[in-house]
């Protein structure tokens, strides 16, 4: 390969990217904006749950439990009533999310061998959020009960249920790896597809193909600058996640960055493939969006768990590169595991990268037959 020719070509590509200030700004800010938006908007954990309390005969135990709810920082008591009748209108108006209904003599019941009855009513108009409310409520009650049990025996509160919620697992932590996957596929696949098909559309590709530049050099030249840009995006996303949402970083940064490069290569190859198969910028853009963005967002497990998809759809997710990258990134960031655990996913991504790059090179013909 003629290195000077490649160098000249790569410099040209950087000029294209740097000259288009608007696109560049958007591309550079995208990870930041996405992390912030997704981080705040798309979290499945909830804060500031509005709690209504029905306490017909307040005693030390009910006051104690109420204080626990307030102290959990997730709940805010909006009103306290004497009778349960007031609850229904409150829910209808949507001014409460959860209602806690004590029976008279709650403290006495706790001290006797009888179970102390407690009714928890949830606004479950959104089932997902409702489940989350329920889980938080149960967590507070259970913590209270366990504490009492540590002091005396046989305390029972009748709402006792098993907790499925892991209080330390914040949803933003789960989103960040998916976001990186999304941003990378957007920058890499979409931008390469657009930039390559633009050369085809404007006719500059013909001149390049007539020149001594090899098709491989054209592809490498196109891909290299976006690899740099994508790398900058990964750093921005990680920095934003760490600085704004305090997302933990337990594993090796070097490993995560290497895996990001691997995943970027897969996305870039997809972009080249799309550009090779489409004849206009617009078609390339739409195809890239459809073929890369949507599956990466919807079929990767980023937002919707693969396990809750219909049976026939689950195997389909295996061909979505983002799925494997997200497993890897979550493993490294949240669990702190390394290649010893993630070798299988890494191998799959490597195979995808090789296969797609080979296909991209093949489909990119020096002659326009």
């Amino acid at each position: 390969m003629n290195i000077n020719a490649l160098r000249a070509f790569v410099i040209k590509e950087f000029h294209h990217i740097l000259r288009d200030r608007q696109t560049l700004t958007i591309l550079l800010l995208m990870p930041l904006v996405q992390v912030v938006l997704f981080g705040f908007a798309l979290r499945s954990d909830v804060r500031d749950i509005r709690l209504a309390v029905v306490d017909p005969m307040p005693d030390h135990a009910t006051m104690d439990l109420r204080a626990r709810f307030v102290g959990s920082a997730r709940f805010r008591i909006v009103e306290v009533f004497k009778t349960p009748d007031a609850i229904e209108p409150l829910f209808r108006r949507g001014s409460a999310d959860v209602a806690l209904v004590f029976e008279p003599g709650f403290a006495n019941d706790l001290e006797s061998t009888e179970p102390a009855h407690l009714l928890v009513a949830i606004d479950a108009s959104d089932p997902n959020t409702g489940t989350t409310y329920l889980n938080y409520t149960r967590a507070v009650i259970q913590a209270y009960q366990s504490e009492l049990n540590a002091r005396s025996n046989q305390v029972r509160i009748a709402t006792q249920t098993r907790m499925r919620f892991n209080p330390t697992l914040e949803s933003v932590n789960l989103f960040v790896p998916g976001l990186i996957a999304l941003v990378l596929v957007l920058v890499s696949a979409l931008m390469t597809a657009i930039s390559l098909s633009r050369e085809k559309e404007r006719g500059t590709m013909e001149v390049l193909l007539v020149s001594p530049l090899r098709p491989q050099q054209i592809i490498v030249g196109k891909v290299l600058p976006y690899l740099v840009l994508a790398f900058a995006n990964v750093l921005t996303a990680l920095l934003a996640a760490w600085a704004i949402f305090h997302v933990p970083f337990r594993g090796s940064i070097a490993l995560l960055l290497s895996e990001s490069i691997l995943y970027t290569l897969v996305s870039l190859a997809l972009g080249v493939l799309v550009a090779a198969r489409t004849s206009s910028q617009r078609a390339a853009m739409l195809t890239a969006l459809l073929a890369t963005m949507l599956p990466s967002a919807l079929l990767s497990g980023m937002i919707f768990p693969v396990a809750s998809m219909p049976g026939w759809l689950q195997p389909v997710t295996n061909i979505v590169p983002a799925k494997w990258f997200i497993v890897i990134a979550r493993g490294i960031m949240l669990k702190g595991v390394g290649l010893a655990i993630l070798w299988r996913e890494t191998l799959i991504l490597s195979a995808m990268a090789l296969l797609l790059l080979a296909a991209a090179m093949r489909s990119f013909k020096p002659r326009l037959d």
Binding site: N2, N4, A5, R7, A8, F9, I11, K12, H15, H16, R19, D20, R202, G203, T204, E206, V207, L208, L209, V210, S211, P212, L213, P366, R367, L368, D369
Partner: protein
């Protein structure tokens, strides 16, 4: 069997290109002598661009043979690429790069050293009276200047043959005249010029011309020869007479 063609820049024998059942270029045979300005004429859709694309290696011929700069278009495409310059029908410079950056890019692609690129850029910009515009974005320049620049870029690596596919499309008459002066200057330096056009006045400037009708070469010779043969006053008349019998004509 193609004869050794040391004196010929291009030698085409029965060159053919089919798209399905449509024959775009139908067994054309011609040669272009080294150092001449060869006009490749024809109506829109007559097959000019298809023929040029086969010669520069953008399109595989369905049939036939051709040698460009002495190299076989089937087997020696790499050598051909280094020997030719190409200015496509569409504007081929990058509008978002400056004049100088475009020169640097193509110089680099053709393997010139940085010093060569600097030197030739300066010379070419002086020739074009564009020395003060070297750092301007190409997209901001008027069309005529852009076309002249694109031509200069195609000549940057000093190719033996330069292919110009309708280089003066949409350009005003004065700039067209200036463009042809550039073509003559290149020919004077020994570059073979293969130029397609459908401006018949431009045909008069060529050493020899061929006129394509319906994918075939209907006539080939010097402008004077053709006018005499067809008893016409101008190449335009010759062309109209030939094109009148065309099946496709201006259809494409």
């Amino acid at each position: 069997m193609i004869p050794e063609t040391a004196e010929h820049a291009i030698d085409a024998r029965d060159l053919t290109r089919r798209f399905g059942s449509f024959v775009a270029v139908d067994h054309i045979t011609f040669d272009v002598r080294t150092g001449e300005v060869f006009g490749f004429l024809g109506a829109n859709g007559a097959g000019k661009t298809t023929a040029i694309k086969m010669l520069v290696g953008l399109l595989a011929p369905s049939d036939g043979e051709a040698k460009v700069a002495g190299f076989d278009i089937h087997t020696q495409r790499d050598q051909i690429r280094r020997s030719i310059g190409y200015m496509s029908q569409r504007f081929s410079l990058y509008a978002d790069l400056t004049v100088r950056e475009n020169f640097t890019l193509y110089g680099g692609i053709y393997g010139l050293t940085d010093a060569q690129i600097r030197e030739r850029t300066t010379t070419l910009l002086d020739t074009l009276n564009l020395a003060s515009s070297g750092d301007e974005l190409v997209g901001r320049l008027p069309l005529g200047w852009k076309q002249k620049l694109a031509f200069s870029v195609a000549l940057l690596h000093e190719p033996k043959i330069v292919f110009l596919d309708e280089p003066t499309g949409g350009v005003d008459p004065i700039t067209r005249r200036q463009f042809w002066e550039l073509i003559y200057a290149a020919a004077a330096r020994g570059t073979t010029v293969f130029v397609t056009t459908h401006y018949m006045d431009e045909a008069e400037y060529c050493d020899r011309i061929s006129i394509m009708v319906d994918g075939r070469i209907a006539a080939l010779g010097t402008p004077a020869e053709l006018k005499e043969r067809f008893g016409a006053d101008s190449v335009d008349d010759v062309f109209v007479r030939l094109a009148r019998g065309a099946k496709k004509g201006e259809a494409a």
